[in-house]
Symmetry: C2
Subunit: 382 residues, 2 copies
Amino acid sequence: VSALRETSRRLRALGLTRATLLVDERRARANIRRFRDRADAAGVLLRPHFKTHQSAAVGAWFRDEGIDRATVSSLGQAAYFAEHGWRDLTLAVGANPLEAAEYDALAADVRLGLLTDSEAAVTALAAALTRPVRLWLDVDVGDGRTGVPWQDTVRLGALIRCAAASPALEIAGLLTHAGHAYGASGPAAAAAVFRESLHRLRACREALAGTVPGPLALSAGDTPGFSAVRDWSGLDEARPGNFVFYDLMQLEAGACTPDDLACAVAAPVIGVYPDAGRVVLHAGAVHLSREVLAGPAGPCFGRLLSLDDGGFGGILPGWSLASLSQEHGVLEGRDATAREGLADLEPGDLLLLAPVHSCLTCEQFQSYRGLDGAVLERYRRP
Amino acid sequence: VSALRETSRRLRALGLTRATLLVDERRARANIRRFRDRADAAGVLLRPHFKTHQSAAVGAWFRDEGIDRATVSSLGQAAYFAEHGWRDLTLAVGANPLEAAEYDALAADVRLGLLTDSEAAVTALAAALTRPVRLWLDVDVGDGRTGVPWQDTVRLGALIRCAAASPALEIAGLLTHAGHAYGASGPAAAAAVFRESLHRLRACREALAGTVPGPLALSAGDTPGFSAVRDWSGLDEARPGNFVFYDLMQLEAGACTPDDLACAVAAPVIGVYPDAGRVVLHAGAVHLSREVLAGPAGPCFGRLLSLDDGGFGGILPGWSLASLSQEHGVLEGRDATAREGLADLEPGDLLLLAPVHSCLTCEQFQSYRGLDGAVLERYRRP
């Protein structure tokens, strides 16, 4: 019996009928433990980014490993996790003055951290906040998206002194997202970005010493760098997020192994075209997102995984999700074995797709399913 | 006062604080009327695809133009519109035998159309359905995604005779989606795809005449082709969908003018970088989708629109949404005027982004807002 047929049989036994995001809890818990252990060994506070899963149920797996603080990327996510008992949250996207009153309300229940690189935002927050909030300064260590460039300590110093003048703002430290680690060509390059980022944050802190009040903690977080480097010493706080599920993008970058992939989309077959070596699934951009990898044989929007008895299995070679429209995904069989397996399929079968970018794929679902059938609730963006 | 500042002032007057999908009702209604008029003039039944808006509120604007039937792309959408009083719906994605019992339940309230190119699916539907359902045969006129190739009338004939043997399945006709019209280089090329598709559907029907029972209606639908061609004669049914809102992809293909763009995302500024000519918005892939246009100056994920007194204005030249991460969008100012306007902005301002692909951007929101502040509810995928 082929792996395709066995996978379909097991997915049908779960009672699935339409595109559904499945989580392999055993793998996700192993990913969490690996990073918790690295943080503990280096004496670094792990404040995992919850933007990947956005699920109170998955958050509970972090709690089981002793982690009771997190990072989020929207006010809505912060409010959701606060409702689910999380009392220490950093909103690591530039503060939005239009939300200042809502930050203030949230700070009644939560030790809230905010982020900015803007004096206008600091002024607006200072005017609106009535409760203490921790403020992180956004530092650009080379990514070029947001943040004050790390060399510009004159501007950073002025920003910190402006914030320190407000009784509601407690200066937490310097925070960076080395997003350029995602462009690294492999683990060695991602590790080099990690080390350079740390070096730049430390140089920045040294240059500011004595010119601004209080100690400055250093916070960084990106999954490629924190996967490539085992020793996180020198940082105060680590904020990676994607590592809980990983995905094909991280796999291609060498940040994980196929055995670490912990979420995948089960999807029904709706068309089989043996002559063309093609299978069409009712799983499109609305389920997977349009995130894409450039492969030697063209774009890849996903790969097939097998479902074994104990959980997710390996990647089925010879198959690639080669194109994606709103509701359709087109799987191409690219070798003789794959094309032979195709003859076993018909509409009503189910297959399992590893996503290119798990953060975006998870965002497309209102809840997930565990392999035991449990429903894992998640935040629903308005 | 710059258009940026005026747009921000008007968006703030709407009470918006975070990324919000706005619909210009006047433009959408004009788009609907234009296509209704073309359908009426040609004696073609307009069965608009509702996958773009998925909103009962927007559906009501179609009803106002006398349209009481629609196309959808999932069982969930069909059930949603049935709840909102729509009694004639075609689910134009290959039928999924795992959902057969749910199709049957829906057919109690709805004149339901299904689609397939698979004998296995026909057999499964015939076994499960207890209520009459209209069945469309999926014909591939050149797109290469789903459907029986239009020349393969032997297979099509066998499929139709197989379906006709089931008392629950009423043969509706031949249905195609000329998705390759999206790859056309402009209106003339899209019109050529339209004419070729119609020619192939008619040739297919002629070849089948006398070999299968009953008349076969011809149904086609894609916005580029139906925008480029004014005379739709020869078809029985037209199923375009995107035209209700259009988007930058359609604009680039010459299918619409900037004045037809009827949905856009209002988003808060969270970072301003005058030296780099860059503005960062809290609007990322989770709000806009990762759909992208390849421009001469690199990828484009969106363009800035002005908001005027009466509604959406024109595209603000010199600006492009040049990169997109999960929650962040990076706007680049590419000429001197754009870079000067940047000095007017600060966190707390709001800007308006025209999306690349409105179907995918709409999918990222649980509801929309009209320019009068009205909340437009939409289907929420589970």
